[in-house]
Amino acid sequence: MTAETEDLAALREAIRDVLSTQADRAAVRKFINSTAAMDASLWAQGAELGWFGLNIPEDDGGLGLGVSALLVLFEELGRAVAPLPVLGTVLAAEAIVHGGNAAQRAGFLPRLAAGQRPAVFALPGLNANLLLSEHHILSGDISLVIDAATAQLAILPASGVGGDPVFCLLDLSQANVAVEPQKMADLTRQAATITVSDLRIDPSAILPVDAAAMANFAGLLLSADALGAAQGVFELTVDYMKTREQFGKPIGSFQALKHRAAEHHIALVGARALLAHTATLWETRHPDAAFHTALCKAHICEVALTVATDAVQLHGGIGFTWEHECHLFLKRIYLNNQLFGTTATFYDTAFDGLAESFSRAA
């Protein structure tokens, strides 16, 4: 692992700059206290800066900066607990880049990149109950689709003839599609239940999707978001420890608290190295990229949850209040832990990949 390239460092700074005004504490607080499903001005700003197309090829209207750039974005969004429903759009674009035909690429990717069509992507699972009939009629519902409250386009899993999973690309603004927003414990993001009644799906809108690869890709973004959020809440905590006094001394001078902070620091430093390395594996299309991604999701989300859980404790009473931002981080990280698979399942995926990598090398 080398230090971040200059390009990425510049991108990080630019994103952080924007977020420091558009998604500062006041803005996040305002969003949370509003009934809005998304912060439209932040979305517009992100669109203008090309955030949604960072990883979309230039030929498809994106910036083609690769996965590393996307990870910088997600890390910064996490660090700011920014209320930006970007995950769905990025995942939908990834699915179309890999599985869309020329017309779909041309029709959707530039608009996704430009933030003109907020989108979502979902995987099969307990909450997915969509059926695609022999005659390509889609019916049923799928719940807890992250970012769906504000989406216009969706790539959703359905059970096809014979039970095989298929992925359908559909417009959510049609008459026979209903989107029912679902608030999450994480106040900075929303989900929705999407109900489809007898919607005809054009055969070309059935996309070939590598579900495992998509789960991994989502996991990578979520681990960057979790790392950023953990870093954010840890910085808050260290600052607080320097100023808050008890027994006539800053609480940061108490050795037991110091030692816990040191443990959090080294865990975060290790997590950051793991993530940066995994980004490199992606960029070089290394065969170990997939299992390192699963490792990131499992390990980084776990580390982040440990840090955030203790951050509230280290803040004491004030960290237990709604007004303080600690809980925004904790809840966001907790959701990241559970999205697109749990820590346990991602560790299992990582182990299988590690075993495979051992036998490949043997």
Binding site: L126, N127, L144, Q182, K183, M184, A185, D186, L187, A191, E245, Q246, F247, G248, F254, A256, L257, T309, V312, Q313, G316, G317, G319, F320, T321, W322, E323, C326, H327, L330, K331, Y334, L335, N337, Q338, L339, T342, T343, A344
Partner: protein, 406 residues
Amino acid sequence: MMDQTVNPTPFYPLGHVGDIIAFRAAVAGWLNATVPPDWRQNLTGASEETYLKFQNWWFDQLKSVGLATPHWPKSWGGAGLPLSHQVVMIEELARIGGPMAEMFVVSLFHMPATLFANGSPAQCDRYLTGVRDRGEIWCQGFSEPGAGSDLSALRTRAERKGDVYVVNGQKVWSSFGMHADFCLLLARTNPQAPKKNAGISYFILDMRAAGVTVRPIRQITGRAEFTEIFLDNVEIPVENLIGAENAGWQIAQSTLAAERGLLIFEHAERMTHALRRDYQALTEQHGKPLEDAGLRREFTKRYAELTAVRLLIKQMIEQGEHGQDSGLLAAVIKLYWAQLLQNYTSLMARMRGLDAQRAMPLSLGTGHNSGDYLSDFLQSYGWTIAGGTNEIMRTLIAERILGLPR
């Protein structure tokens, strides 16, 4: 159900004191007949007003069979129940999953513990009667923004002026302050005292006095159970001083020691039943009993710890029954329980997966087994931070039990 008139039941537990089997049956029978089976649903997404009404209703139900103040001595109108019977009462309440009289905790434990030991006869008479007969609600005014773990740093000032003390300052973390009639208040009467612990006095504050402003503090679950109390030239009559002037620190120790045993016992008994319900729900969700070895072992480990803490609580209760001081065991139990509760609720939130991440309407007054697993986890900080943080408890155990140097 909340405005239904009290229905006299054939169960009168107090008629069976001395026969513990019959007492248990009577308590169980009475609870079955009295606790509305849908009380949890009714309090989910309910307004604070509904909650307040329900708590009052529940207190009245308990009162109607003499069980609102089971642990108070008969001389003060309590049931004077032996500890063994209080234990049975709590066990049965936990078994049926009945409501907790959580709004009355200070009224039932802290205030009387303080007044029994330090109150004047007039104070005892007025305020114990108020709880017993009228269900008056008390809150506690100890912590301040600058005095959390370090109570001795408190800055709220009480100056004697003739027949009153004039009080100025700010209190924080007072549970149910918005509903309280009275407050157990610590304030500094002698700022020149050489040790910071000295110079503090203990008052009864009428929450309706002029200059008292209460602001709810919303906690991370979304619930506003705590309050801040602002005191702006509030006049407290001198007869509301408890004990001697500047003796507040000592008196506060009896307040803090008041609640531990039975309250944690009730929580632990409730967790025992919750764990079983959780096991069944998870088994249904996943089709078989927790087939993931990692999570299953974590679950089993929590069960071991729950078993252990229940045994320790019973040990403490028995010590209390024999008049032994169990303050140090209480500290062990507080820390053990706080960590167990946090680990258990976090495990449940993780085992429940994405479903546990939905925003759910608040389930008021259902403690840490609301069924909203993430909320229960967040709620657990109430134990790890309040009433002596885990950190304070660890230091106390290391120094007072293990004898490690300061």
